[in-house]
């Protein structure tokens, strides 16, 4: 009987221990999960400058390429037309000279350069948006900034540190045949580059260059051949206006594409609190370092960066270099960073093995997701079910109405720009187990069930403010996708008058 009692109490003890273990295990999982969600190690691209940030195994998803196949007459992009900043600056000059001009007046009255007139005739909606930006949006924004600007003061302070450094970075001041063959040297003393150093193989050259790129600060790096149709049709840095832009310089044979993310918590507080300047700065410096390294090895090189401008467009090169795929937003979505990738290119002629483009399911996912388009406060992103028929400069792929996009840049608060499509993209997530599981499973599921399931969770469980909430009062309240990080809360730190915008004004 006693034995029986002992047996029973032993079993009761084991059961009690099991229950205690269950409770402890559950608590431990919550704590471990929280740490995993918060951990700085999950901020891909911010932990260290090493190749581990390029962690996605691209091999199974490579294809021979090219990823871009022309479907019509290919034309190069123009600084004054396709490039939104060049276009709006040209439009602004013409409009300021004729402030009485209105949309129903003849376009010729604005005295715009002929290429821009041709562009506006091809994309009339861009003219409407550019006009609205200067006629309505910018004056409204000046008023909003007087009222609410202080609420975003620290976000602008954060940005200004990066912008300030941008001004010190060197830009090419001579044509490619000259400047790309000169080292910067100490104190700006330019020296001709030396004799090219030979590598044992193209593969080893690529390996070394990629390692260097990471060491210089790149989170992702890929190599492709430079495509002449993606060079700007004019206005390369250091070139006089009568320079022959029709031929690609021979030493621009290869394009090394690098990418870094914007700070993860800041980007999630788009559009009002985020900035591109942090990543612009980091990727520009990394590319300039790489340029310096290549020149030291005796190879001509030119960095095309956000801080020192570009002579080519980056996204198609990034896609061909296997960094990612073109998304609904028109930019390149990568497996590691999603859309949170700011890119630069270094053109050079060091013989290197190139990378292949990849198909990891973005195109199929974008067709059904539409979260970026539904969230976009300017409606610049297409809601179509596929990019069929969307042809831009001879290639069929997603593109946005950059006039509408820029218009919202000038409407919102905080640092200029929006980046909401980056923040809302389900691929733009940190590197913890939840998102890694999606990264591993989804591209390997040909049925698309995984992506549909994940999208269902994304749309129903995660908060997505209505697009109108991001607009200015009274319609919206300058919402942000997620709350700003603590260190950008002006109300917490500053002893100044602060007015928080709210719906209705």
């Amino acid at each position: 009987m006693n034995d029986e009692k002992n047996k029973m109490s032993r079993r009761s003890f084991l059961k009690a221990a099991g229950i205690a273990g269950f409770v402890a295990h559950t608590g431990g999982l919550v704590a471990a999960g929280r740490v995993s969600g918060k951990s700085s190690e999950t901020y891909t691209g911010w932990e260290s400058n090493n190749p581990a940030t390029n962690f996605f195994n691209r091999k199974p998803f490579e294809f021979a390429g090219p990823a871009h196949k022309p479907v019509g007459e290919v034309r190069r992009p123009g600084h004054m037309t396709d490039y939104v900043f060049g276009r709006v600056a040209t439009f602004e000059r013409a409009y300021r000279a004729k402030p009485e001009w209105r949309l129903d007046d003849p376009l010729e009255n604005l005295e715009l350069p002929p290429p821009l007139v041709a562009f506006y005739n091809e994309f009339p909606e861009r003219l409407e948006w550019d006009f609205r930006t200067f006629n309505e949006t910018i004056p409204n924004n000046a008023e909003d900034r007087r009222k609410y600007g202080n609420y975003y003061f620290l976000a602008e302070a954060y940005e200004s540190g990066f912008s300030a450094v941008a001004g010190y970075l060197p830009r090419p001041d001579a044509p490619p045949e000259v400047s790309d063959f000169q080292t910067a040297g100490f104190g700006g003393m330019k020296q001709p580059i030396g004799k090219p150093t030979t590598f044992k193989s193209k593969g080893l050259a690529a390996e070394f260059i990629k390692e260097m790129a990471h060491k210089y600060g790149a989170t992702l790096v890929g190599i492709t051949r430079t495509h002449s149709e993606w060079l700007y049709s004019e206005g390369w840095r250091g070139c006089p206006s009568d320079y022959d832009f029709s031929e690609m310089p021979k030493h621009w044979e290869y394009a090394i594409v690098i990418a870094v993310p914007m700070e993860w918590d800041v980007i999630l507080s788009s559009p009002q609190f985020s900035t591109s300047m942090d990543a612009y700065n980091r990727v520009s410096i990394a590319a300039l370092r790489l340029e310096g390294c290549l020149k030291f090895l005796g190879y001509p090189a030119r960095a095309h960066t956000p801080n020192t401008d570009y002579d080519l467009i980056v996204p198609p090169h990034a896609v061909e270099a296997g960094l990612g795929e073109v998304a609904r937003t028109g930019f390149c979505v990568t497996p590691e960073l999603g859309g949170n990738a700011r890119m630069a290119v270094v053109t050079t002629n060091i013989p290197m093995e190139t990378d292949k483009p990849i198909d990891f399911g973005v195109a199929r996912f974008c067709n059904k997701c539409k979260l970026c388009a539904e969230s976009c406060p300017s409606g610049a992103i297409s809601m179509a079910d596929s990019p069929d028929g969307m042809v831009l400069r001879g290639y069929e792929h997603w593109y946005i109405n950059n006039g509408a996009c820029y218009n919202y840049w000038r409407e919102n608060m905080g640092p200029m720009g929006c980046r909401l499509c980056v923040a809302t993209c389900p691929y733009s997530r940190k590197d913890n187990w939840v998102h890694s599981m999606a990264r591993v499973l989804d591209p390997r599921d040909p049925s698309g069930l995984t992506s549909s399931g994940l999208l269902l969770l994304q749309k129903n469980f995660f908060d997505y403010p209505e697009a109108v909430e991001y607009r200015r009062p009274p319609d919206g309240h300058f919402a942000s996708f997620r709350p700003e990080p603590d260190y950008l809360k002006a109300e917490k730190y500053l002893d100044i008058k602060i007015t928080k915008p709210k719906k209705g004004g």
Binding site: A20, G28, A32, G33, S36
Partner: protein, 102 residues
């Protein structure tokens, strides 16, 4: 940080064994005979439950608390439904089962 250290996961492993031993004692009490597939189903159930809890923690850690709560509730609902079914399966007597320990 303790909660992502090797030592923490070592303790978690020990606790998992304790949960398994407790479950075995509980099963014996109920007269369940745990063969390999019953163990397998029980482990799968526990993994589903644990993933729900871990998802909640991770999402709340990355400022997606509301999504975390919803996923936890969904996970708990699934765990309860599966748990009821599992309870019935575990109680099944199959051919070749021995007499449960007293």
């Amino acid at each position: 940080m303790f909660f992502n250290s090797g030592l923490f996961w070592f303790f978690m492993g020990m606790i998992t064994i304790l949960v398994g031993v407790g479950f075995k004692a509980f099963a014996n009490d109920r007269g369940w005979v745990l063969n390999w597939w019953k163990w397998l189903l029980s482990i799968i159930w526990y993994v589903i439950f644990s993933l729900s809890v871990l998802s909640f923690g991770t999402l709340s850690g990355e400022n997606e608390g509301s999504a975390g709560v919803k996923i936890l509730l969904l996970g708990l609902f699934i765990s309860i439904v599966l748990g009821v079914g599992l309870g019935r399966l575990l109680g099944l007597k199959t051919e070749g089962d021995g007499t449960p320990e007293a």
